[in-house]
């Protein structure tokens, strides 16, 4: 059998090591699939509810037409929807980020109350990946659907 030149031996060794490393990294990332997610979707929260009062993050889309402000002027209520037909009512008192609007993505930090309402201490706005000047802002229907799909990524 012909033996490989030393530099070819090294090449084979490094390539094999890289493949092993890549496989290990991807396996670790796959194992982290659920743990590394920044928030739960409504369906995940409903399927496996956290203990009452335990701090969690809920993320999804703010349902169109669901946003209402109480008479005190600072408490707002809205519905967060996920991929499937699941929705969780959210209550929040405070100042919401500018980008927090109906039909856009939101991440709420807070806890589930015993009456099924998610009480948020803090709201974060999640925007989509589209950058469009104001003059061209008429987002088409299919784009809105795509955005909902992408905001709720990470659920099998």
């Amino acid at each position: 059998m012909r033996t490989l030149k030393p530099k070819h031996q090294r090449l084979v060794l490094v390539v094999v090591a890289l493949i092993a490393l890549l496989a290990a990294g991807l396996l670790a990332a796959y194992a982290l699939r659920s743990q590394a997610s920044y928030f739960y979707l409504p369906e995940q929260l409903l399927a496996d509810p956290p203990e009452i009062g335990q701090p969690v993050r809920l993320g999804g889309m703010v349902e169109e037409g669901s946003l209402a402000t109480d008479s005190d002027g600072v408490t707002m209520r809205f519905m967060v929807t996920g991929r499937e037909n699941s929705r969780i009512p959210v209550r929040f008192s405070g100042i919401a980020p500018d980008l927090f609007v109906e039909g856009s993505g939101v991440v709420a930090e807070g806890r589930l109350a015993s009456n099924g309402v998610f009480v948020a201490d803090n709201l974060l706005a999640k925007h989509d990946e589209n950058y469009v000047p104001r003059e061209l802002q008429d987002m088409e229907q299919h784009q809105a659907a795509e955005m909902a799909e992408e905001t709720t990524v990470g659920l099998e």
């Binding site: 530099k7 997610s37 920044y38 980008l99």
Partner: protein
Amino acid sequence: MHGFANPKRFLGLARWLTPLLLLSGVSLSAGALFWGLTQVPPDRLMGETVRILFIHVPSAWLGMGGWTAIAVSSLVFLVWRHPLAAIAARAAAVPGLVFTAICLITGSIWGRPTWGTWWVWDGRLTSMLVLAFLYFAYIALAQTAKREAVSQRIPAIFGLLGAINIPIINRSVVWWNSLHQPPSITMGNSAIDTEFLVPLLVAVLGFSFIFGGVMLARMRTLLAILQADARLRRRAMEAV
């Protein structure tokens, strides 16, 4: 390609390529940033803050590109044992770290008005911070290996190991729920309107030229230090 691995020919090429890259990079970047800061219309949702895009995105790409350069150079060094490849890897580390830091800082400034927070520990932000720490570790390791006259293979192996973070950064917004939005630019597809996209790509080109120029300048410096060391050692030998 192999011909330029000869340090003498490399130096001949780098002598005029370094100022050329730096000058064209600075003028392209200045033009793109002026364009992006003053001429581009505001975004439909973010308004004026969208202008951070033109610094944030090129910096993020070059932060990741810097480690890719370290990994490729390290591979070439480990397999073909060419000293110039070790020097190229060392030269890419500092500009890579600077661009990663710019990406993290501008991202934080951008996050406050858009998301409502300076920082969150989601997949994208965390993996990018890990990249910055990897750069610090690589720079310290490469310097120590040089000073202690330990094999340059140690930082090279670390450079290859750290490359696993690059696909993780890239996929972090696809695999996991994150606050950072999914990628705007994917293979042959862009969700960025042309009015934003063109100055962005010019800025990417300009920033890349600056990266290349700084890397070449650092390679020349590192080569000059090596030569000076070798000369001193030769003199010391002659004196004995």
